[in-house]
C-alpha cells in the first residue's frame, strides 16, 4: 500500500479523511473531493505521479443525487493505480475551478465539459467551443445533459475565432477541412512567415457524431458495437477497452485463453496500422517504391485478419467476457506462417527506407517534439515513446503481457524519424508477442462464449494500449446493464496538441510528413 504514503501529504493538506477514499477492482483509487479542495488535490496528484490529466469528464446525476459530477483521472504507473478525483457540482449555474492554467492537458477536457454540460471551468483561458461548432449548434444546447432534446436545430450562425498572429510578412494559410487525399476532415490554420510555420491552430470536430450520447441507454452488447465504430483504425482496441470496463464492473473472470487471443488481435491491429503508416510516411516524402511495398504488407495483414476473424478490421469478434470465435489449430499455424513471411518482407522494406539517404534526410530532425513539451502537453502512446517518455500500458498495467517478453520501444529525439523507428521496432515486437502467445498459451481452452457472468451496476475504467496509445473507457452501468454514461478518450485527443507544437519552425511542405508521423484520428478526437 505504498501509494498511500505518497499521496498522504496531498490528502492531509486538503482535509481528506479515510472515509473519502476507496479502492476498487485493485487498480482504481477513488477520492471524493469538494469544490474547495478539488483543484489542489488534482495539482498534487499531477505533480507526484508526473501524470497528465488522463481523463477529465462530467456526468449528469441530477436525476438521482441532484448534482453534476466532475471526475479527473490520473495515472500512477509506478503503483499500478489509477487515481480518480470526484467532485459534486451543484446543478444551478454549475462551475468549478479550472485546472488548465496549471495543467495544460486539462485544457481540452474542460472545454469539452463546458460545451457538453454547460459546466463552467472558472478562469479557463480559452472558452471557445471545441467540437460543437458555433455555425450549427445553438447557444445553450448541452447534448450530454440527460434532458437534452436531440434534433433541436440551430438558427444561429456564430463564427469561430482563430488566434491571430500579426507582424510584418506574417500571413495565414487555411487548409481543410476538405483535403486532397481521402482522409478525415480537419481545419489547419497556419500562420507563416515565408515557409516556416510560426503557429498552427487545429480546428477539429467535423466528425462529431455524439458517440457518448449514443452509448447512453444502450445495453452492453449494443454498446460494444458502437465502441468498435469510434475510430475505424482501432476497432479492436476500442472494443477491448470497453469490454475491459464492463468486465471489471461485473467481476467477470476472463479465461487466460481469451486474454491471449485478444492480445493477439490487438497486436495484429497494431501491425497493420504501423505498416500502413510507414508506407504513408514514405509517400508523403514522395518515395513511392517503399510505400507500395508497405501497402502490400498491409494488405497481407488485412487478409490475415479476415481469415482469422471474418473481418478485415477485426470488428465483431470481441465480446463481453470472451471472443466470438476461437482460433483453430489450422488458423494458428496459418497465422504463424503468414507472420514469418510478413517479417521477411518487412525487413526488406525497413532496409529500403533506412538505407535511402534522401529519405533519411527528410525524416531526420523534422517535426521535433521535445520531451518536456510532450510531458507538459500530456502526449501519450507512440508519440510519447518517440519523445523519450517510457509510457506503454502493456508495461504499466500488463495483464496477460506479464507472461511474455517484449521491449518498450523508446526513442529520444522526438522527430519524425523517431516516430518511424518506434513503429518499425513495434511492428517486429508485435510479431514476437504474437509468436510467444501462440507458443505459451493454451488457446484451445478458449470457449467462444467466454466467461459466465451476471450484469451488475457500477462504474469502472477500462483501458487498452491501442497502436496510437492509451484508449480509455469510463463506463457506468445501471442494474439492468444499460449504459448510463460512457466517457471515451482516444489517444488522438491528447496528441493533437503535440502535433501543433511539433511543426513549429518547420516549413509548410514538411507538414504532411509531421502529420503522418503522428497520424492522429479525427473521429477518435471528435467522438
Amino acid at each position: 500500500m505504498d501509494y498511500k504514503v505518497i499521496i498522504k501529504d496531498v490528502l492531509e493538506n486538503n482535509d481528506i479523511g479515510p472515509g473519502d477514499i476507496s479502492e476498487c477492482y485493485g487498480d482504481e483509487v477513488r477520492i471524493n473531493a469538494t469544490a474547495l479542495n478539488f483543484k489542489n488535490i488534482c495539482l498534487g496528484l499531477h505533480k507526484i505521479n508526473r501524470s497528465p490529466v488522463m481523463m477529465l469528464f462530467a456526468s449528469d446525476e441530477r436525476a438521482g443525487r441532484g448534482v453534476f459530477v466532475v471526475t479527473a483521472v490520473f495515472m500512477a504507473a509506478k503503483y499500478k493505480k489509477w487515481f480518480f478525483v470526484n467532485m459534486d457540482v451543484k446543478k444551478e449555474s454549475p462551475a468549478f475551478d479550472s485546472l488548465s492554467k496549471e495543467i495544460y492537458s486539462a485544457t481540452f477536457f474542460e472545454r469539452e465539459i463546458k460545451e457538453m454540460f454547460g459546466i463552467e471551468p472558472k478562469d479557463h483561458p480559452d472558452m471557445r467551443r471545441l467540437n460543437l461548432h458555433d455555425e450549427v449548434w445553438p447557444e445553450g444546447a448541452y447534448p450530454l445533459r440527460k434532458d437534452f432534446n436531440a434534433g433541436a436545430k440551430s438558427e444561429s450562425a456564430g463564427a469561430y475565432e482563430f488566434k491571430r498572429i500579426e507582424g510584418e510578412g506574417v500571413f495565414e494559410v487555411p487548409v481543410g477541412p476538405v483535403h486532397a487525399g481521402i482522409i478525415g476532415p480537419g481545419h489547419f490554420r497556419f500562420s507563416v512567415a515565408g515557409e516556416p510555420i510560426i503557429n498552427l491552430e487545429t480546428r477539429l470536430g467535423f466528425t462529431h457524431r455524439g458517440v457518448e450520447k449514443l452509448m447512453e441507454g444502450k445495453d452492453v452488447p449494443g454498446a460494444i458495437r458502437i465502441a468498435e465504430c469510434v475510430t475505424g483504425d482501432s476497432c479492436f482496441g476500442h472494443s477491448l477497452a470497453f469490454s475491459h470496463a464492463v468486465e471489471k464492473i461485473c467481476g467477470a473472470k476472463v479465461p487466460e485463453g481469451v486474454l491471449a487471443a485478444r492480445a493477439i488481435f490487438l497486436e495484429l491491429e497494431r501491425m497493420y496500422n504501423h505498416v500502413a503508416d510507414i508506407g504513408g510516411i514514405a509517400i508523403d516524402v514522395g518515395f513511392s517504391f517503399p510505400s507500395n511495398h508497405a501497402a502490400m504488407i498491409k494488405e497481407t495483414m488485412l487478409a490475415l485478419n479476415q481469415k482469422l476473424t471474418g473481418s478485415r478490421y477485426l470488428k465483431n469478434i470481441n465480446e463481453i467476457g470472451g471472443i466470438k470465435k476461437n482460433l483453430s489449430a489450422e488458423e494458428r499455424s496459418y497465422l504463424r506462417k503468414t507472420l514469418v513471411q510478413v517479417l521477411k518482407d518487412f525487413k526488406d522494406l525497413k532496409t529500403t527506407l533506412l538505407d535511402s539517404v534522401s529519405f533519411m534526410d527528410r525524416a531526420d530532425s523534422t517535426g521535433v517534439l521535445r520531451k518536456k513539451t510532450a510531458e507538459d502537453l500530456g502526449v501519450v502512446g507512440l508519440a510519447a515513446r518517440a519523445s523519450g517518455i517510457p509510457m506503454d500500458l502493456r508495461k504499466d498495467f500488463p495483464g496477460i503481457y506479464d507472461k511474455i517478453k517484449f521491449n518498450l520501444m523508446k526513442q529520444d529525439n522526438g522527430d519524425a524519424l523517431a516516430r518511424l523507428n518506434v513503429r518499425l521496432s513495434e511492428f517486429e515486437g508485435s510479431a514476437g508477442i504474437i509468436m510467444q502467445l501462440l507458443d505459451k498459451l493454451d488457446l484451445q481452452a478458449v470457449e467462444p462464449s467466454g466467461a459466465k457472468m451476471s450484469i451488475k451496476a457500477g462504474s469502472a475504467l477500462g483501458y487498452a494500449e491501442g497502436w496510437r496509445g492509451a484508449i480509455l473507457y469510463w463506463v457506468k452501468l445501471n442494474e439492468e446493464g444499460i449504459v448510463e454514461r460512457c466517457k471515451i478518450v482516444d489517444p488522438s485527443f491528447h496528441n493533437w496538441a503535440g502535433l501543433s507544437f511539433a511543426v513549429l519552425g518547420n516549413i509548410i511542405p514538411d507538414f504532411p510528413l509531421c502529420n503522418k508521423s503522428f497520424n492522429l484520428s479525427y473521429p477518435g478526437n471528435d467522438l
Partner: protein, 295 residues
Amino acid sequence: MKILIIIIQVAVLTAIAPLISGIIRKIKNNIRMRRGTSVFQPYYNLAKLFAKNEVVSENASWIFRVTPFVVIASAIFALSLVPLVNAGNNVNYAGDILLIMFTLMLGRFFLALSGLDTGSAFGGMGSSREMFISSLVEPAMMISIFVVAANASSTNQYLIAARGHVSFSAIVAGIALLMVTIAETSRIPVDNQETHLELTMIHEAMVLEYSGRSLALIELASHIKQIVFFTILANVIFPIGAGLAVYVVKILMISAMIGVIEISIAKMRLFRAVDFLTFSLVLSMAALVISAAGL
C-alpha cells in the same frame, strides 16, 4: 516548304507529347509492382478536362483567363523551334536556343501571376516556390546551353545539331541539363507530379485554381514543355544519328532515366532543392571550362 515542315513538326510533337508522360508513368508503375493505367491515360485526362465546364474565382482578373492561352502559345512556339530531325531543314533565321528559353519563361511568368491573381493561399505559395526554383534553374540552364553553343560557335540549334558528334564538354553539360529538366518538368526530387498533398506542391499549387478547359490547356502545355526539353537533350546536346527512329529511341531512353530517378529517391526538402540545382550549375560551369579547353 519550311513552313509546312514546321507545322507538321508541331502537330506531330503535340500529338505525342502526352504519350511521353504516359510512358514515364507506366515505367514507374512497373517498377513499383503495379499494373498502372494505360500509357494513353494523359489523353483521356485531357479529353475529360476539355469536355468539362470551368469554375473561375470571382476575384480572378483577365490575367487568370488569359494565362492558359499564353502558356500554351509559348509552349507551341518553343516546339516549333526545336530541331526534330537534325539533318537538313536548316532554317537559319529560326531555331535560336535562347529564344526557346525566353519563350518558355514567358509562360511561366504568366502562370506565376495567375497563381497570385485569385488570392488563394495555395496559389501564392505555389507561385513563390516556382519563382524560387526557377531563379536557380535558369543560370544552370543557360550555361549548359552556352557550352554547346560555344562548341558550335552559334546559338542556332540547327547549327549546333548539325555538328553530329558529341564532345566531352557536351556530356557534362547534358547531365546538368538533365537535372534542370527534372526541375522544369516538376519531377522528384524537386517537385512531385503524383502528390495529393497540396502543401508540398510547387507547380501544381500554382495551377490549383484552374479547372476544365483552362486546366487542359495548361496540362497540355506541360506535356509539350517536357518534350521540348527532352528534344533539346536528345538532338542539341547529343546530336548523334539522324532520322526519326533514332530520335524516338533517344526520347524513350531519357523517359526511362527520368522514371527510374523518380522511383529511386525521395523528394528533397524544399530548401534542399537549392543544393541539387546548385550542383547542376557547378556542372554546367565545369562543362564551360572543359569546352574552353577545346574538349
